[in-house]
């Protein structure tokens, strides 16, 4: 009985120690992955930023539309006059970031 009990206790302790090692390794992995996630998130946020989007869009030759046209569903009326947008003569704020 006693021997069995002692053996069991030893076994449980070993398991606990092993779990502790595992926990430590996982914690390191977790913090690394959190850091990685944050880095990716800030890259996305920077890419999404209006300033960068504007610059990217202009580089692709896109021009901001200045005369929006709305379709009113209730009476199917078109509000506003569509006009072809022209590229602004001066590029807006040359790459600020």
């Amino acid at each position: 009985m006693i021997v069995t009990g002692m053996m069991m206790l030893l076994y449980v302790n070993t398991l606990a120690a092993q779990a502790s090692f595992q926990k430590h390794a996982l914690q390191i992995q977790l913090s690394q992955m959190t850091a990685e996630e944050q880095t990716i998130a800030s890259t996305v946020a920077a890419g999404e930023s209006p300033g960068n989007l504007l610059i990217t869009a202009q580089k692709m030759g896109m021009v901001p539309a200045e005369t929006p046209v709305f379709l009113r569903l209730s009476d199917r009326k078109i509000l506003g006059k569509p006009v072809v947008a022209v590229a602004p003569p001066v590029p807006v704020r040359a790459a600020a970031q």
Partner: protein, 604 residues
């Protein structure tokens, strides 16, 4: 083995043994032994044994009982580690949740200088990775201590590279870093943080307490960095700071900033401010300043450029202020848009001769015409129909000279001369105030005046913070303040129609027409008061407008200080208004106007 030998042996051995023992046990020389009796010997050994045991016991008692708790504590201390669990600083997002300021994990690179054998070589290796000059690193590596910082707040990737070198004595500790993913977007509004992560400017400073949160701590028993299972531990969880959701719309903000930036440069101006407000709520959708700075690198810019000048700086509004005079006069029944005025080239009041922006022949303007042509003399004449006390009380109701209630750090309330103070109120004060000089406002107050007219006469206190969310993500919107009724809805509507006349072919603001939308607004050119010299020098050119005029959704003000190319509000500030308002109307999905603006006669 042979049988005979085995038989012989017992015989041979038997007689020999006694012989041998007799030989050794020869008491030839008797020795004096003190404990020769066994009794004495036993006593002696027992005595020694007891002494030794009592020494052991004494030591045991000392360790276990006398110094017990102390020793246990010190042994535990060698294993116990208290780790600070830093609370994350709250984020700033715009109204749609786009992050403007956020906190990410970072590492401080630390060193135990006693373990560094070759400081110069180590520094040379670290320098290119950390981007720090070799000299600085050598200084950190040769400190006479067992701890010093090599680099603070490096990215986790940079630390990974350093850690891979496995330089003995180089360690790291976890920390956080404040980043602004949108760069300088809304920089003067958000502000910046110092090296220790506390806010030093803007809302980072003003809301520092809410953003900070409370650090936690974790006490664990550890061996070689690993927790001892089931060991005693104590943990206080950190409470992260509150995240702030602003009323700003980052798309509008970016558009306003770029346009203002371009126009200030194009006109050779000293600086500028612009604000977009939603009249129904008082929400500030964008507030831009020139100059501005990069909050990711705040110490590269002069402190002057870091102020949110839309609230910290005041200027005399000039003609845009005439809208308050008009609203008061109409509300009090002193005049209506058709009231006729004869406007001479000069008007004498309080011993001073007042004039209009340009010399002119005698004009015949209606009240609408006075505003459309921005006549100072006409405005003075109109204000006299209600008197100085009433005008004063309306200026107060519009919020002039009072805090906006935004609680923005460093806000300047501007100045409205006190009618009861003889030193502030002279004979020329009343006519001067009527056309917008002699009082000062910040850009938010100036915008708020037009927002009041746009919101049918109810002034909504300007609002910059939409709400807070806690670390669990629960969002609590901040309360909308109660509006203040300044003028009636009917008066506000009439004033809006007069503002549309300003933007008509007959007015000073005709360049600000936006195809498809009814726009009302007012141009302004004011003498700029220079605090350094105590006199006027240069001008502030401005335009404040409302769109769509029949059902206002947006109010925008643009003020540009000391432009060199022109001083007209319509030429200097107008283009920014037109460009950004056109974009804003489409961006906010505001349908074009379906009605035509009324044609108010401007002359008679």
């Amino acid at each position: 083995m042979k049988t005979p030998t085995s038989q012989q042996r017992p015989n041979a051995q038997g007689p020999q043994r006694p012989q041998n023992s007799k030989q050794t046990y020869v008491p030839s020389a008797p020795v004096m032994v003190p404990l020769e009796s066994p009794k004495k010997r036993i006593r002696f050994v027992t005595f020694i044994f007891l002494i030794v045991m009592s020494i052991y016991m004494a030591r045991l008692i000392e360790i276990q009982v006398v110094r017990g708790p102390e020793l246990a504590a010190s042994s535990q201390n060698s294993r116990l580690q208290t780790l600070a669990l830093p609370a994350l600083r709250g984020d700033f997002t715009d109204i749609n949740g786009t992050p403007i300021a956020t906190t990410v994990m970072a590492r401080n690179v630390t060193v135990d200088p006693t373990l560094i054998k070759d400081p110069a070589g180590t520094a040379a290796t670290l320098s290119p990775i950390l981007g720090i000059p070799v000299k600085t690193i050598v200084a950190a590596l040769t400190v006479d201590s067992r701890f010093s910082y090599v680099a603070k707040r490096v990215t986790p990737e940079t630390w990974k590279t350093v850690a891979a070198l496995a330089i003995p004595g180089v360690f790291s500790e976890p920390t956080t870093n404040r980043v602004y993913p949108n760069g300088s977007l809304a920089a003067t509004v958000i502000g910046y943080v110092g090296a220790e992560g506390t806010g030093l400017g803007g809302l980072e400073f003003g809301l520092n307490k809410q953003l900070m949160g409370t650090d936690g701590k974790l006490t664990v028993e550890r061996v070689n960095g690993r927790e001892i299972p089931a060991s005693e531990r104590q943990s206080i969880a950190p409470v992260d700071g509150l995240s702030v959701r602003l009323t700003l719309d980052s798309d509008l903000q970016a558009m306003l900033e770029t346009s203002l930036d371009a126009q200030v440069k194009a006109t050779g101006a000293e600086g500028g401010v612009a604000v977009i407000m939603e009249p129904g709520t008082g929400n500030i959708l964008a507030m831009a300043t020139y100059p501005t700075f990069d909050p990711n690198n705040p110490f590269a810019t002069d402190d002057k450029a870091k102020r949110n000048t839309t609230v910290t700086d005041v200027f005399e509004p000039g003609s845009t202020s005439k809208v308050m005079t008009m609203a008061s006069v109409i509300e009090e029944g002193g005049a209506n848009p058709g009231t006729k005025y004869t406007i001479e080239n000069r008007l004498s009041r309080g011993g001073t001769s007042f004039k209009d922006y340009k010399d002119h022949k005698t004009e015949h303007f209606t009240l609408a015409g006075v505003l459309a042509k921005s006549s100072n003399i006409g405005t003075i004449l109109a204000s006299e129909s209600i008197g100085e006390k009433k005008l004063y009380s309306y200026l107060q109701k519009f919020g002039i000279g009072q805090t906006t209630g935004m609680n923005f750090p460093g806000e300047s309330t501007g100045k409205l001369p006190d009618i009861n103070n003889e030193n502030e109120w002279s004979d020329t004060t009343f006519p001067t105030l009527a056309f917008g000089q002699g009082l000062s406002v910040n850009a938010v107050q100036a915008t708020s005046v037009f927002a009041t007219i746009a919101n049918d006469g109810v002034r909504m206190p300007p609002r910059l913070i939409a709400g807070y969310s806690n670390s669990q993500g629960a969002y609590e919107p901040s309360q909308l303040a109660d509006g203040v009724r300044v003028v009636s809805a009917a008066t506000a509507k009439t004033v809006r129609e007069m503002l549309e006349t300003v933007v008509s072919e007959d007015g000073t603001g005709k360049n600000m027409q936006i195809p498809g939308y009814r726009v009302g607004g007012k141009t302004g050119t004011a003498n700029r008061y220079n605090e350094a010299t105590g006199g006027y020098s240069g001008y502030t050119s401005s335009f404040i407008g409302i769109a769509p005029a029949e059902k206002p959704a947006l109010v925008m003000s643009v003020s540009i200080h000391n432009p060199k190319t022109s001083t007209y509000g319509s030429v200097v500030a107008g283009p920014v208004f037109k460009k950004v308002m056109t974009y804003a109307l489409a961006h906010r999905k505001i349908p074009p106007s379906t009605t035509k603006p009324p044609k108010l006669p401007v002359e008679w």
